[in-house]
């Protein structure tokens, strides 16, 4: 039987983790073992997750390709499909199409320092590449993670943040917006761009990966420029509305680019060539 591009894999929800209010992580395994064996992806790629009867929703694969046998996704309950997903229980079967899109060029980053800057729910797209880098730690020099959220409650992957904090081969700086701290909060207090400016990482031989809400990105780019980062070395992901995931449905088209095909990973240099429609 020939299947179409639109046929999803059936995935079983193995484990559900509540990350923050309205934010959940699903660990998904292929229902069909053969699908599992034929499946491969790289850091940065995304998929179309679906609840049958509700529709499909686009988000990244949040687990690292170095961890085999499953994929993970993290989403915030916000629309029709993510709400339906949030209502699923462990053991339920959902749909997944993918992987789609381009990748973070980890091969090109060998021998470099990596600076990860994430805000709020935008850590998941970065978690994949962070773990990928940490699992192949010998390939990179210093790894720094700056992660901020509105409040302590909104920080996702709290267990992993602890793990990264303990590790001595990665520097983790967490921050919450002023007013979002709790009495026993030990991290920074302040907006992500100003924390980046404060810790002032060296731009020398460093790539920066920035994911977060538009306003965070808008104010982080100039800080990075001031620190001497070149546009080609600053990476981010675009989150345009998508439907098909493979460059046909037209939704994510921005200028000559199909975000689902040419992205979601772009350098700041590439973004500067694009019309401001993302």
């Amino acid at each position: 039987m020939i299947d179409s591009l639109y046929m999803p894999y059936l995935m079983r929800i193995e484990k559900i983790t509540c990350e923050a209010p309205g934010v959940k992580t699903f660990m998904l395994k292929f229902v069909n073992e053969e699908d599992q064996n034929n499946f491969a992806f790289k850091a940065g790629q995304f998929g179309e997750y679906s609840v049958f009867g509700e529709g499909e929703s686009t988000f990244c694969i949040a687990s690292s390709p170095t961890r085999k046998g499953y994929i993970e996704c993290t989403f915030r309950q916000s629309g029709k499909v993510t709400n339906a997903l949030a209502g699923c229980e462990e053991g339920s079967v959902i749909g997944f199409r993918g992987p789609y899109g381009n990748i973070f060029p980890l091969d090109e980053w060998k021998g470099k320092n990596i600076l990860f800057i994430a805000g709020g729910i935008a850590l998941p797209p970065m978690r994949c590449v962070i773990w990928n880098a940490l699992d192949t730690r010998e390939n990179f020099k210093d790894i720094t993670i700056v992660y901020g959220a509105k409040s302590v409650n909104d920080l996702v992957y709290k267990n992993e943040l602890k793990e990264w904090e303990i590790r001595d081969d990665v520097r983790l700086v967490t921050t919450v917006d002023p007013g979002g701290e709790t009495p026993d909060w030990k991290g920074e207090v302040g907006f992500v761009p100003s924390i980046v400016e404060k810790i002032a990482p060296s731009a020398e031989n460093t790539v920066a990966v920035v994911c977060g809400p538009p306003v965070m990105i808008k104010f982080t780019f100039p800080v990075l420029a001031k620190l001497g980062f070149r546009d080609e070395n600053v990476f981010t992901t675009l989150e345009n509305r998508m439907k098909c995931g493979f460059g046909k449905c037209g939704h994510c088209n921005v200028g000559k680019v199909y975000v689902c095909k040419d992205g979601p990973v772009f350098t700041q240099a590439q973004l500067k060539e694009l019309p401001d429609e993302y």
Partner: protein, 341 residues
């Protein structure tokens, strides 16, 4: 293959139609309703409309239906079973009476659906469709095929192109593809050998109005022009232009649920809708109509030639005819060409 030229007597067309029907082919042909011609499955030759310049909708619907089901699912507790597209359901279909500006559009759609990933469902429909087109012997002010690389007697995309030789004349049949030859083989006695015929004089005269290469070059630097706002002020933001267009292929993917069972399908969508690009957060990258109108033109005349090596317009003029606010694409393209940068 070389184009074979044959002569089909005017009263042989009906015989050809009947032979197609006898061979169990579904024939889609223009039918008149409420004063508008549109493609419908047709059972008898007499119901085919004759006097029309252009159908209101393009014939793309036969290959890219407005609702296309991909899969059926059935839920059972936490389990789900799914059944994919039913390729057996795609049967041999004949498109009868298509204009050359429509047939060229199938090439464009083919580029969209196959430029990278291959869309098997589209391909299944395209490969099962036989395109019998008819040259245009009349045109109106909305037509501009000759400005976008087509012409009223273009064989591009057709399996057989018929050209009526004079008001009450017979037809020249140009057999373009093997699919066309297979049709000839079904009714070889109707396709007579003929001397070379000058078909040009029987074709509609559609003057060239602009140069699309020039437009494309101009658009490179035209993104920030105030013209988009001026042109689109009267645009009401409906999707009529996109839905009648032979090359517009944007779609949405939706589920249709009935209790435990349901299906997933794609349905037509339009970049002119305000909701087309809205993020779940509420952020809308193209929040005003001028941006959406710009996207429509840029996509057809700049992005598509760059990415897919085809232009997204066949000059059929349907969008202009269908527009409730008289947004005329030809007029707008000419005014873009005339702007000095």
């Amino acid at each position: 293959m070389n184009i074979e030229r044959r002569l089909v007597r005017k009263d042989s067309l009906e015989k050809l139609f009947d032979i197609l029907r006898q061979n169990k082919k579904t024939v889609f042909a223009p039918v008149m309703k409420n004063g508008k011609a549109s493609f419908k499955p047709v059972g008898s030759f007499s119901s085919i409309a004759e006097d029309y310049i252009q159908t209101t909708q393009s014939s793309k619907e036969v290959i890219f239906p407005r609702v296309e089901k991909f899969l059926d699912y059935e839920k059972n507790g936490k389990e789900v079973s799914i059944k994919g597209f039913d390729y057996q359901s795609v049967t041999e279909t004949v498109l009868w009476g298509v204009r050359p500006c429509d047939t060229i559009g199938f090439g464009t759609l083919n580029s969209i659906f196959n430029w990278d990933f291959k869309d098997e469902i589209f391909n299944a429909r395209l490969s099962k469709t036989i395109i019998l087109s008819f040259s245009c012997n009349k045109s109106d002010d909305y037509c501009f095929c000759t400005s976008v690389g087509g012409n009223p007697g273009s064989t591009a995309g057709s399996d057989i192109l018929f050209t009526k030789l004079g008001a009450d004349g017979d037809y020249l049949a140009e057999v373009v593809t093997e699919k066309g030859q297979a049709i000839v083989a079904l009714a070889s006695e109707l396709f007579e050998k003929t001397e070379s015929v000058e078909k040009e004089k029987f074709l509609a005269n559609v003057p060239v109005k602009f140069n699309q290469e020039e437009i494309r070059k101009k658009l490179e630097k035209f993104f920030k022009s105030s013209q988009w706002v001026e042109q689109s002020l009267k645009c009401l933001g409906c999707g009529a232009c996109a839905f009648v267009c032979p090359t517009c292929a944007c779609f949405d993917i939706q589920d249709d649920a009935h209790g435990k069972i349901g299906s997933r399908m794609r349905c037509w969508d339009s970049c002119g809708y305000s909701q087309f690009t809205v993020h779940t957060s509420g952020h809308n990258p193209r929040s005003v109509q001028s941006q959406r109108w710009r996207q429509r033109i840029m996509h057809k005349f700049s992005y598509m030639p760059e990415r897919l090596s085809v232009y997204g317009c066949t000059g059929c003029g349907r969008c202009s005819r269908a527009c409730p606010a008289d947004m005329n694409i030809l007029e707008h393209l000419i005014s873009i060409q005339e702007v000095k940068i």
